[in-house]
């Protein structure tokens, strides 16, 4: 087990380093950071000065090492646009995104798992059909439209929840529903097919021959096997929610990381964009690692592989 964790951990680290170096290098080849800071029409001497002053004239690998070194110490540099430390910026926005993403994940699990399980227990029944149509609609309806409809219904017609902002828990209810709904189809269908697969397996037949039936058969024999693919997909979905909830954050005017990323890109705020990419990559890598570890805990074949 220890070997497994070590191996997965090192792989994760390697992925994170590769991606962050890739984006760093891309930025430095695609744009001229000195020009960006100085402004479009700045005289050449000023741009050169800035280049020297900020150290942009050094080789990319040296600059990357420098940047990574300070990033590891918690110093992500200074935002060109907001003129404040990037760390502060990210801290401000991260809270909103984390709360939103986690509650959206909760929504996904609460809707998708029960629906998927009941669909698998009675394939082709009305429950299954209902689950399928839910999945298809959730897949087809765009996030922004669902968000606007919910606002009209629950904030305008029946003013239960606030229209926008991120001040109280009430502000999170509608966005969490919208963001959570977007993952329901994938997770629900995977739960259904996964559980159906497991239920038609030889070892479930063995369990039935041993006298297992009903909820015991599902919970004590089948579920652990069916969970393996679900864990992996939930990790990816949470990753998307932590990094890419731009639309939802915009519709509900929440100041999360997604909006920060979009605004930094529009304003060519390279230090902020770079740091955000590093954080998104790390989040993904860590979540995948976590999913792997949970699966290893669930399945001895992975643990001992």
């Amino acid at each position: 087990m220890f070997n497994y964790i070590l191996r997965r951990g090192l792989m994760a680290l390697l992925v994170a380093l590769t991606v962050s170096f890739g984006t760093f290098a891309l930025f430095h080849f695609a744009t001229d950071p000195a020009q960006t800071i100085a402004g479009e029409d700045a005289p050449q001497e000023m741009v050169d000065d800035i280049r020297e002053q900020y150290g942009f004239d050094r080789p990319v690998s040296v600059q990357y090492g420098d940047w990574l070194g300070s990033a590891l110490q918690g110093d992500f540099g200074q935002s060109y646009f907001w003129k404040q430390p990037v760390v502060e910026l990210i801290k401000e926005h991260a809270k909103v995104t984390i709360v939103l993403a986690l509650s959206a994940l909760g929504v996904t699990i609460l809707i998708a798992l029960p629906l998927g399980i009941s669909a698998a227990l009675k394939p082709n029944s009305w429950v299954d059909r209902f689950a399928l149509s839910t999945a298809v609609s959730a897949q087809a309806i765009p996030n922004f439209w669902l968000g606007l409809m919910l606002i009209i219904l629950f904030s305008v017609t029946f003013p239960i929840f606030p229209v926008s902002g991120d001040a109280t828990w009430k502000h999170y209810v509608l966005p969490a529903l919208v963001l959570g709904a977007s993952s329901v189809p994938a997770v629900m269908r995977l739960t259904r097919t996964g559980l159906l697969d497991v239920l038609s397996s030889d070892y479930i037949r063995t369990a039935r021959a041993k006298g297992f039936v009903g909820y015991r058969l599902i919970l004590q024999q089948a579920m652990r096997n069916a969970l393996l693919p679900i864990v992996s997909v939930l990790a990816v979905q949470l990753g998307h929610k932590l990094g890419g909830s731009v639309v939802t954050e915009s519709v509900f005017s929440m100041n999360g990381l997604g909006r920060l990323a979009v605004e930094s890109i529009f304003n060519s705020d390279i230090p902020t964009v770079q740091s955000l990419i590093l954080i998104f990559v790390l989040t993904f890598v860590l979540l995948t690692l976590a999913a792997d570890l949970i699966n290893a805990w669930l399945d001895p074949r992975i643990r001992m592989g």
């Binding site: 397996s201 030889d202 070892y203 063995t206 041993k210 039936v213 001992m304």
Partner: protein
């Protein structure tokens, strides 16, 4: 129903609705099982024997519909029992079940211990410690070494044979009165098969348990069952005492099945009595006898009217219009076991293929940071193949048979030594040249043919690759080949999944032979096929050898096939050829203790005889940890000091090559 019966089934049917019609998997069968006895149900795949077993405790697939006028188990009616009643009172408690697939029948995410214990704790109020005690006791009974530490292991850490033993222990946790064993040994090597059948017999005596043994292997039932029921297309066509049915079969199907078994009658390399065609799918309305289309005795009445059930005496029935009784043997219209013509004597023939001191070592690394460890798949193997002969290569799974065939075909370079074909080294031959001379036929005709190509394209492929002839000529050649291997010309444009297993294997043979090779490597070519189809394929292979002057290296684990096909036999163990010689020498007076155990484990059809104990201790070792000295010594019943320390070299005794320190004396020491 008499009081001595534990199970009485009347008029059991299982229907499976399909898109277009209904498949009648089991068609109104009746069975009776006496307490403490074993009933063997035999038949080919698709005969409905597994469905019958699943129907008893209603474990059928969800779509299947079960009907019966009576399923009486020891006084309680299972016909109308609900799922919950079955689960709480019968399943796992009074009726235990062993399934065919040991690799997939245990839950992969729970430990052996948990799976064993829960069988008991689910039904009874026992403490965990008590259940554990019982589990350890049973694991010891089923011959699993070191049972206490096994409990913590997971299924994937055990071999197939070990898992099957766990399955058996699990079925016995609650001392069931009836054990249903569905092909309990089919997936296992012969030595393990003998061990497990032996064990079931012992346990049955000890617990007074009744048993239903489902198998396609007539050798197994002949030794393990008191009564036998022969199933065909969902119906029991003949039933009675095992000895009576097997020695005096009345139904043409029973007789046909027996004649298909290599070595059952007559001499080797004679034509086997193959049953033509395949088991028909029983859909829609059925009139007449289901076997009529394949029956050599079928008359008009057989095709129109359902055959009557005839009773010879109490407990001995068959279902047929035109039974084969009181006519003696060999009066059949088409003589079976007819002498083959043109059998070649290859003793003086030239060597066509030589394997010269070939060793093959892989280095295997476990994990990303694990150390590389050598795995010696072949250790100093030498063999010769004479032109026109059939050399059988036998051994348990993992012994290196596959590596050897890959090396011979030039697909795997040997670490040391070399293979020569017609005097030329395989390694120096260009791949195209090599492929022209040596071709393989694989085990599984379901996965060895490209599902997206037609049969014509598949057989023509080697010609296309080698650029032989125009498209027109290729087609002509393919059609000729199809005729030769017995494929109807209408399947030229069919896809593999439209063909039966036997037809696919014929196509695979056609593809192998289209380049006119000299040597054909047959890797278990019939082990995925039913016995009646196996007989057809074996006949075909022998015919083709005579017709096309072929030489076969025949890899198999089925010893009756070896007995039937081979001129010479080579026995492999852990990458070494431990014995190699003339078939009769090797099979009837084996020199090596391993060959001895193998031959002992082979179950020929002999009713009344018990299952022999092969006397091998332990399991086939992991090739990663080869024992020092003679690789066989940890399992050898006669191993001595020298065997543990020094590996024996090859020695020629009575024209047989043997690698054993005790070969000269082994014969006398091993005879019971």
């Amino acid at each position: 129903m008499s009081t001595a019966s534990i199970l009485d089934i009347q008029d059991l049917s299982v229907d499976i609705p399909t898109d277009s019609s209904t498949l009648h998997a089991v068609r109104g069968i009746s069975l009776e099982l006496k307490r403490g006895e074993t009933l063997g149900i035999v038949g080919e795949s698709g005969s409905g024997k597994s469905m019958t077993a699943l129907a008893l405790m209603n474990l059928l697939p969800p779509a299947a519909r079960r009907q019966a006028s009576c399923i009486d188990f020891d006084g309680s009616d299972l016909t109308h029992a609900t799922e919950r009643e079955l689960a709480s009172k019968i399943r796992g408690q009074r009726i235990g079940m062993i399934f065919q697939e040991p690799m997939t029948s245990l839950n992969p995410v729970y430990s052996i211990g948990r799976q064993l214990k829960e069988t008991m704790t689910l039904h009874r109020k026992v403490s965990d410690a008590e259940a554990e005690k019982r589990a350890i006791y049973l694991l010891e009974k089923v011959g699993l070494p070191d049972p206490a530490s096994r409990l913590k292991q997971y299924p994937h850490e055990l071999s197939g044979g070990q898992r099957q033993r766990v399955m058996i222990a699990m079925a016995l946790m609650n001392e069931p009165e009836l054990l249903i064993a569905d092909e309990p040994t089919t997936a296992l090597d012969v030595t393990i098969q003998a061990q497990i059948l032996h064990l079931l017999r012992d346990l049955q005596r000890e617990f007074g348990m009744s048993m239903i043994l489902i198998t396609h292997d007539l050798g197994v039932v002949s030794r393990a069952a008191d009564n036998i029921a022969v199933m065909y297309a969902g119906d029991i066509v003949e039933t009675g005492k095992t000895a009576e049915v097997l020695e005096n079969p009345c139904h043409p199907y029973t007789k046909g099945l027996l004649e298909c078994v290599p070595g059952y009658q007559g001499h080797s390399q004679q034509r086997l009595g193959a049953i033509p065609g395949i088991v028909p799918a029983m859909t829609g309305e059925i009139s007449g006898c289901a076997f009529a289309s394949r029956c050599p005795r079928a008359a008009d009445v057989c095709r129109t009217t359902n055959p009557p059930t005839k009773k010879l005496h109490q407990g001995r029935y068959f279902v047929c219009h035109e039974p084969e009784i009181e006519q003696g043997e060999g009066t059949a219209e088409q003589p079976v076991g007819s002498e083959r013509t043109g059998k070649t004597d290859c003793r003086g023939a030239e060597d066509i293929l030589t394997v010269d001191h070939v060793s093959c070592t892989f280095s295997v690394r476990r994990g990303l940071f694990g150390k590389r460890k050598p795995l010696q798949a072949l250790d100093d193997v030498s063999l010769t193949l004479k032109k026109g002969e059939v050399l059988a290569l036998v051994g348990e799974s993992g012994c290196g048979k596959t590596t050897l065939t890959r090396t011979i075909m030039g697909l795997q370079a040997p670490s040391t030594g070399f293979v020569t074909l017609n005097g030329q080294r395989i390694g120096n031959l260009p791949p195209m040249e090599r492929a022209r001379m040596i071709q393989p036929i694989f085990q599984d005709p379901y996965s060895s043919l490209n599902p997206r190509k037609t049969i014509g394209e598949i057989i023509a492929k080697p010609l296309v690759v080698h650029g032989i002839g125009s498209t027109q000529e290729q087609h002509q050649q393919v059609r000729k080949m199809m005729e030769l291997v017995g494929l109807p010309s209408r399947v030229f444009n069919s896809y593999p999944d439209q063909l039966s297993g036997g037809q696919r294997q014929r196509a695979a043979i056609g593809r192998a032979l289209i380049l006119n090779p000299e040597v054909v490597i047959c890797d278990e070519p019939t082990s995925a096929l039913d016995v009646s189809v196996q007989a057809q394929i074996l006949n075909l292979l022998l015919d083709l050898r005579d017709e096309l002057d072929l030489t076969y290296l025949f890899v198999t684990h089925n010893l009756s096939v070896v007995q039937h096909m081979a001129d010479r036999v080579a026995v492999m163990y852990l990458g070494e050829i431990v014995e190699c010689g003339e078939r009769d020498q090797v099979m009837s007076s084996p020199k090596h203790p391993y060959t001895h155990a193998l031959m002992d484990s082979a179950l020929s059809i002999s009713p009344g005889e018990s299952v022999p104990d092969p006397g091998l201790s332990g399991d086939f070792p992991n090739p990663m940890n080869r024992p020092n000295g003679c690789p066989f010594h940890p399992r050898c019943p006669i191993a001595g000091q020298q065997c543990r320390e020094q590996a024996p070299g090859p020695e020629l005794i009575d024209n047989t090559l043997v690698q054993c320190w005790k070969a000269k004396t082994a014969g006398s020491q091993l005879k019971p």
